[in-house]
Structures are given as structure tokens and as C-alpha cells.
């Protein structure tokens, strides 16, 4: 006899936690697997070791949301199974392979909620692989989880709300923030005024942060182009152009990011159908308003489904949980579901506003210098990618991977894949939606060769 399979939730960030809570409240006992040592996801990541910093110091204006999420998840203990530091590395035939502490367990599940979150999106520039260059998310995690700054004199570069948030957090932590370099022109920010009716608190908070950065003497530059990082063995300076002026600033740390990209490998392995999303410039798993993917029993929530931020993720996690309950014929609070969908739709409209205020500099892709590395794992330059496209007359992304190795390394294209797509689109004179998307393969992240297979699966076996 085998026990009936549990619902499986992947990720213990805002979406995963709210999904778990929804299922537990309905009397189900989900299994939550998460790569991190503690709940909270990236945005509400917890400290590795306790230190003297308060929640407000760690999470700023979002401190109460972080505390509530951590507390609510802790309160579910005993009514769910929770595997931290667990890597779900493969999905097939309705079963998951999960690596925990050197052992891999095969998990049969009944309902799969993917709350896999997002990573930073970047475009390569000269010097971006020098030590001292971090993604914005990485810079934020260093500060939040480890109490470390990425440098003593730091420049923040890129596009997206995170740019100003991280700069402000570094300033608050006492780090010398040399400048904020925004890739969008200043007038793009006027679009934010349209957001005032949708999310006034968010807009005002952003304005306050920007004002505070200015007040404390942080230079804010807009319409930054042709950026290059200078340094011999590590970051020493950053150079850029604004209009016709070239500028240089010395620094020893750079936080860089162009908003976020969804983590979609597991949705792909689960067999979900994908669609091209113009706003995110990415292929995303299809889902209905309740988070149902195209495969029955697979649900998508949070930034892993489409970039919408932490508040939306909490709502989407709850909504996906309700969808699972409804599909199982359990009580599922339809009024609440409608209210959530309305709130999510408002946040979606707000996201459109943010996208116009913090646009992705897609035109950078055609200007990436041939000698600039695109794929760090396999050490492939932009020129090598372009030559592969030309020599083999490549028109599709998986074929480009086959002949150039791009996307074959440790990150499996999670970092370089979108760049390769931009370059391929540029070289073949087509839209980025016309060059295909990388097919995901297990393992979604590296696993040890010596990983052993557990004799039996299931949550009990791990206890």
C-alpha cells in the first residue's frame, strides 16, 4: 500500500508560502521543497546567522510583510512537510526527483504548484565578468543574508525598480554609493505618474527613495549608454556615455541588472505549453487567471509565471492553491478567488506602467562587442555566437546551442539564453519571438555524480 500522493509545492517564497497556507487551511498536507535554508524566497530571504540588524534594517518598508510571511509559514509546521535545501532537479511522468543532503528521492505528487521565482536579467557589456560586478539581486542578497556589501564604493547600474531599491538599501547600510546609472532616459520616469492611481503607495515610496538618494549626494544619471567596466584584475572604474558626453567614475563594486527573468525550467519539464510575452520579452508558461498551466494538475504562481513582484506573488500563490482545491472538488472560496484576480489584474496594469518607466535596453544586444563574453560557463564570446550563426546558417535557438555550446554550461542558459536569443534575432533580422526558446533539460541545476538514489520516496522517508 502506498499513501495517497501529496500536493507538491516548489519554492518557499511569497507565492509558495501562500499556496501552502491555502492548502493546509483546507486540510491538505502539501510537501514544500525549497533550495534555500529558510523560507522567504529571494525578496524576504532570511539571515544565515542571526545578527544585530532589525527586520526594518533588513527589509526596509517591506519589513512587516517579511515578518508576517516568515511567521505564517512557521505556524504551518506539523501540518505540512517542508524540505529546505532541497533541489528539485527533474520532473517526468508525474514524478519529481528531489536531491536532499546527498540523496535523491523520487516523489509522486497529486497537484504541482510551481513557485520558482526569478533571477536577474542582464546583457553583457565589456568587463561584466570582472570580480566586483554583481547582479542587483546578488548585491541585495549579500547585504540581506550575509550582512556584506559588494564593495566600499559602489555604483548601481541598470533598469527596473530594484535598481533604486538596492541603491537605497546600500545607502541605509552605510555604504558609499557613488552613483546610480539608469539605462532609461529621464523622461521615461514620467510614465510613473500613470501608476499613481493604481499603486500610489509604491510610487510614493519610490519617489521618497529617489529623493533620499539625491539628498545624500548620490549622483543619478539617466539615459546611460555604451557602458564598460574597467579594471585589471577586478573592478576599478565604470565608463559610460550620456548623449555626447563620456564619463568615468572610480568604484570597487558594481550592482547591475535589467529587471528580472522568470525561472521556467520546471514548467517546461512538466510539459506546460509556453507563449511569448512581449512585456517580459520572454517565453512564459501559459496559465489561466487561477494559475492553471496547460497540463492538468500543474499550477504556476509568482514571478516564475510572469514578473509581477512580491505582493502579486503572495496573491497568486493563494489563488493557485484555491484553483487546486477547486479542481479536487474541495471548498475553495470563490469570492476570494475573484477578489484576488481583480487585485492581480490591477498589479498587471501597474506592471505595464513600470515597464514603460524602466524599459529594457534591447538595442544594446546588437552593440555587444564581439570580444565580450556572453556565456561565462562555457566561455563563449558574442563574436563566437555571431560566427556560429553565420557559419552554420542558424535560425533557431536550440540549433545555436548545438553548434556554439551557448546554454550548455552550469547555468543551462538561465543567464545567457535570453542574450543568445537577442543576438540570434539581431543577426537574422527577426523578432526575438521568432527564434524559438531553449528546451529545458534536467538537471535544472548541477547535481553531484555521487548523488545516491533513495530506496523509497515520499515525505515520510525523509524524516
Amino acid at each position: 500500500m502506498t499513501a495517497p500522493a501529496q500536493p507538491l509545492i516548489v519554492g518557499a517564497g511569497p507565492a509558495g508560502v501562500r499556496a501552502a497556507e491555502t492548502l493546509v487551511k483546507a486540510g491538505l498536507r502539501p510537501l514544500v521543497v525549497d533550495e534555500a535554508p529558510a523560507s522567504g524566497g529571494q525578496i524576504y530571504r532570511q539571515r544565515l546567522v542571526a545578527d544585530e540588524r532589525s527586520s526594518t534594517a533588513l527589509y526596509g518598508s517591506e519589513a512587516s510583510k517579511a515578518e508576517t510571511l516568515h511567521r505564517d509559514f512557521a505556524a504551518l509546521a506539523g501540518r505540512l512537510d517542508y524540505w529546505p535545501q532541497a533541489l528539485l532537479w527533474n520532473l517526468r511522468d508525474g514524478k519529481a526527483d528531489v536531491a536532499v543532503a546527498g540523496t535523491s528521492r523520487k516523489i509522486a505528487y497529486d497537484g504541482l504548484i510551481l513557485a520558482t521565482g526569478a533571477t536577474d536579467r542582464i546583457l553583457p557589456m565589456p568587463g561584466w565578468t570582472l570580480p566586483g560586478v554583481f547582479t542587483l539581486g546578488g548585491a541585495q542578497i549579500a547585504l540581506k543574508a550575509q550582512g556584506c556589501a559588494i564593495g566600499s564604493r559602489v555604483v548601481f547600474l541598470g533598469s527596473g525598480p530594484l535598481l533604486y531599491l538596492v541603491a537605497w538599501q546600500y545607502l541605509k547600510a552605510g555604504v558609499d554609493v557613488a552613483a546610480v546609472l539608469d539605462t532609461a532616459p529621464f523622461n521615461a520616469k514620467f510614465n510613473l505618474l500613470r501608476g499613481l492611481t493604481l499603486e500610489p503607495a509604491v510610487i510614493l515610496r519610490g519617489m521618497r527613495m529617489t529623493a533620499e538618494l539625491r539628498l545624500r549626494g548620490v549622483a543619478l544619471h539617466y539615459g546611460v549608454e555604451d557602458v564598460r567596466v574597467e579594471g585589471d584584475r577586478r573592478v576599478e572604474a565604470i565608463m559610460w556615455r550620456q548623449g555626447s558626453r563620456s564619463r568615468t567614475l572610480s568604484c570597487d563594486g558594481i550592482g547591475y541588472g535589467l529587471a528580472l527573468r522568470s525561472e521556467t525550467q520546471l514548467a517546461d519539464l512538466a510539459g506546460c505549453r509556453f507563449r511569448f510575452d512581449q512585456r517580459d520579452r520572454a517565453w512564459l508558461p501559459e496559465s489561466d487567471a487561477g494559475g492553471r498551466g496547460s497540463v492538468p494538475g500543474v499550477y504556476l504562481a509568482g514571478d516564475g509565471a510572469a514578473i509581477a513582484g512580491a505582493d502579486a506573488a503572495e496573491l497568486a500563490g493563494e489563488r493557485a492553491g484555491l484553483a487546486l482545491l477547486e479542481d479536487r472538488g474541495l471548498a475553495h472560496a470563490p469570492e476570494r478567488a475573484v477578489a484576488i484576480e481583480r487585485a492581480l489584474s490591477r498589479i498587471g496594469r501597474f506592471r505595464n506602467v513600470l515597464e514603460s518607466a524602466f524599459p529594457f535596453p534591447a538595442h544594446w544586444a546588437k552593440d555587444i562587442a564581439d570580444e565580450t563574453p556572453v556565456c561565462r560557463c562555457e566561455e563563449i564570446s558574442a563574436g563566437e555566437v555571431r560566427r556560429a550563426v553565420g557559419n552554420f546558417e542558424i535560425s533557431e535557438l536550440n540549433r545555436l546551442k548545438a553548434v556554439s555550446r551557448i546554454g550548455m554550461g552550469r547555468c543551462q542558459g538561465r543567464i545567457c539564453g535570453s542574450v543568445a536569443a537577442e543576438i540570434l534575432a539581431g543577426e537574422t533580422g527577426r523578432g526575438i519571438d521568432a527564434v524559438g526558446r531553449l528546451r529545458s533539460q534536467a538537471p535544472v541545476k548541477p547535481i553531484p555524480l555521487a548523488l545516491t538514489m533513495a530506496a523509497t520516496g515520499g515525505a515520510e522517508a525523509a524524516e
Binding site: S104, V403, R410, Q441, P448, L449, A450
Partner: protein, 398 residues
């Protein structure tokens, strides 16, 4: 509007066999169309293990294999890239005395074929290949064998064919092919009509339907290799590794990644696509960590699989159709086609030009199969291959 194309030879399937035949035919001055339902080299030719190996092949394949052996070092001149071909040698390991006896017996059978096999005892193995651990009693070494990058070689042949003037038509599935007075009429893609004096059926795992259209039945099944790739490591493995009796094969590419295979993957809902099974991949990984101490702390970063056509007797079909003049078959390489494919391309070109090959291929005639009743077939092939597949399949990879 429909397009028309008149060529001497239409080739169905742009894998390594089809594209190397196309290149050879262009070299003879013929006009050629190379048709692929997807992208050239994206199926078995591009997703196999990458072993360039003569050792272990049945005797009847060796003349063809030797012909191909002469082509591999000339890739740069032939297709403009070396395909990462590395003459590393192929080392076939024996786990026990019975395996060693099998290697010795094989060496005796193929003694006159010029493989230059060298039998190595336990001590010699430890001395010369100290990076091989585990319970291994001896090995057979074929110094002239090696390995290459299948993704590059297969795509490279198609690109070279295109540059040589072959009409390379990708994403152009052949929907119908019929014999008419002068030759063949083919309908392909959305609107393409082709006429050709000859047709080469090199459609890999999809070739049986074209053979069947001309009344020739082949028990063609599908197999799916299951490959694991490690992160780049310092140079450890100096030879391409096989195992008598199967179970594992491994090689290290110049960049440092080790490629390890030895199990089967399974198809997805769409049987044209497949992925390794988690437990299958783990079994290979554990075996590799045990057999090669230098890999014990390594990570697997990538798996791959693909679709290969397989025939129960492990030999391909190569040769003239027995029902239809002008039709030539070449498929069913059963996981061991990579090394011989460039040789097969030359043979196919000879068959078109001369009606016969200078290399013996009689063993591969399509006439060796009794007709298979249509009713026993499934969409995964005849199933005959699976019935003959032992738990740990003997090494049939390239």
C-alpha cells in the same frame, strides 16, 4: 503557388548519412536536394554519444568502418571544421575473466582487419590508464579510434553540402514519394514538388514508413540514448572508454567536460522527443563516479537524449531497394552509426553513380527481413528492438 525542383537525387533525411551522401554526390557533379522534416543533424546524428569507434563492431561492418576511418582525419578539408575529432584511442574494459576472454576472442576474429587491437592486462592497465579504477581486470585498446562532437560534425556536413550547391531544405517534411516513368515525384513541405531520378531514404528512425511505401518492411524500433555531461574538469580521461557487456561508456572532451552514457531514455508524449529518466541518469552517474576516481566529486551539469532507429540484429539497412529501381536505403544504425556514417555517404554516392559499391555491404540488404504484418506495428516502431534489448544493453553506442 507551388515550387518545383528537378534534381538528380532527392535525399530524405538530413542526418550525417544523408548530408555526407549529398556532399559526395555534389562532388560527382550531380544535382541534389537534401530534405529534412526539422533541422539537419538534429536527430540521431547530432545527439549520439560521439564515439568514433571501430573496435567492437561486428566483422561485417569493418570494411565500411575502415573506409570511414580514413575520412575522419580529413574533416577540416572536407567540411571546413575538424568537428573536435580526437584520435584518443578506444579502451574497452573487462570487469572479469569472462569479459576479458570475450575481448580476446574478438581480437582474434578481427585480426586481419587492421584495427591494431592491443590486449592489456591488469597491471598494464594500472600503469598506462591509472585513472581507471573500479573492478577491472584488463582491457582491449584500439589506438586509432577516438571521439568527436556529433553536434558539430552532423551540422557541419549539412553546411558543407549547402556550400557545395546542394539544395538543403529544412523544415520540409516529405509527404509523399511515388515512382513515375522517369524516376520519382515527391511532395514536400507546404508547396514543394520535386522530381528526381534517384531517392535516398536516410530518414533514420522515420525511414520505415518510406520503405513501407515501396512494399519493403523493416522491423525498425526507436531507442533513446541517455547522456550525462559533467562540469569541465582537468584532463583525466585520455581515451574513449567502453565496457565489454555494456553498462557504461565515457569520454572527456578537450574543454574538460566528461560525457557519460549507458542507459536508455524514454520518449515523451510526442515520441519524437525524449528525455533521460532520473534514475537512469543517476545510475550512470554513480557508475562513473565509481569507475573513475577523478570524477568522484564532479557534478553533472547537463543531460541529453534523442531518437535513434534500431534494428534487432544491430546492423543497419544499406543498399538498393529490392522492389523499386532508383531507390536506395540507409538507416537503422542502432546507436552505432556515427563513426561509419561518412563512409556510408560515399557508398551511397557510388550506388547512385555505378549501381554498386566498392565496399562490401551485402550483409545490410533490406532483403534479410521477413515481411512484418502491418497489424503488429505500433507508433513506436515494430517493437522488435525492445524485445531483444537486455536489462543492461550491450554496448551498441557509437
Amino acid at each position: 503557388m507551388s515550387r518545383r525542383l528537378d534534381v538528380d537525387v532527392a535525399i530524405i533525411g538530413g542526418g550525417l548519412v544523408g548530408s555526407s551522401a549529398a556532399l559526395a554526390l555534389r562532388g560527382m557533379g550531380m544535382s541534389v536536394a537534401l530534405l529534412d522534416k526539422g533541422f539537419c543533424g538534429a536527430q540521431a546524428s547530432g545527439v549520439n554519444y560521439g564515439g568514433v569507434r571501430r573496435q567492437g563492431r561486428p566483422l561485417e561492418q569493418l570494411p565500411l568502418s575502415q573506409r570511414a576511418h580514413a575520412i575522419w582525419p580529413r574533416l577540416q578539408a572536407l567540411i571546413g571544421i575538424d568537428g573536435e575529432f580526437l584520435r584518443s584511442g578506444h579502451l574497452k574494459l573487462a570487469r572479469d575473466e569472462a569479459d576479458m576472454a570475450a575481448l580476446e576472442a574478438y581480437a582474434e576474429v578481427v585480426a586481419g582487419q587492421g584495427l591494431g587491437l592491443e590486449l592489456i592486462g591488469h597491471n598494464g592497465l594500472r600503469e598506462r590508464f591509472g585513472w581507471v579504477g573500479g573492478d577491472v581486470v584488463g582491457a582491449s585498446f584500439c589506438a586509432g579510434d577516438g571521439h568527436a562532437n556529433p553536434r558539430l560534425v552532423s551540422t557541419g556536413f549539412a553546411s558543407a553540402a549547402r556550400r557545395a550547391g546542394v539544395h538543403v531544405l529544412e523544415n520540409t517534411p516529405v509527404k509523399g514519394v511515388t515512382r513515375n516513368g522517369a524516376g520519382f515525384a515527391l511532395e514536400a513541405g507546404d508547396d514543394l514538388s520535386l522530381s528526381a531520378r534517384f531517392v535516398i531514404n536516410s530518414a533514420g528512425a522515420w525511414a520505415d514508413s518510406f520503405a513501407a511505401a515501396f512494399g519493403e518492411s523493416v522491423p525498425l524500433a526507436r531507442i533513446y540514448p541517455s547522456m550525462v555531461v559533467t562540469e569541465p574538469l582537468e584532463a583525466i580521461m585520455t581515451a574513449n572508454i567502453g565496457m565489454e557487456g555494456g553498462g557504461i561508456y565515457a569520454r572527456q572532451v578537450e574543454r574538460g567536460n566528461c560525457v557519460v552514457g549507458g542507459e536508455r531514455a524514454l520518449p515523451l508524449d510526442d515520441p519524437d522527443f525524449s528525455r533521460p529518466r532520473g534514475e537512469g541518469a543517476l545510475a550512470i552517474m554513480n557508475r562513473a563516479a565509481e569507475l573513475f576516481p577523478g570524477l568522484r566529486h564532479a557534478h553533472a551539469i547537463r543531460f541529453w537524449s534523442g531518437t535513434e532507429g534500431a534494428i534487432p540484429d544491430h546492423n543497419p539497412v544499406i543498399g538498393l531497394s529490392l522492389t523499386t529501381p532508383g531507390l536506395i536505403h540507409a538507416f537503422g544504425f542502432t546507436g552505432a552509426g556515427f563513426q561509419i556514417a561518412p563512409g556510408v555517404g560515399e557508398v551511397l554516392a557510388e550506388l547512385v553513380r555505378d549501381g554498386r559499391s566498392t565496399t562490401p555491404i551485402d550483409a545490410f540488404t533490406i532483403g534479410r527481413f521477413a515481411p512484418v504484418p502491418i497489424s503488429t506495428r505500433t507508433d513506436r516502431g515494430s517493437g522488435a528492438g525492445e524485445a531483444s534489448e537486455p536489462q543492461h544493453p550491450r554496448e551498441t553506442r557509437s
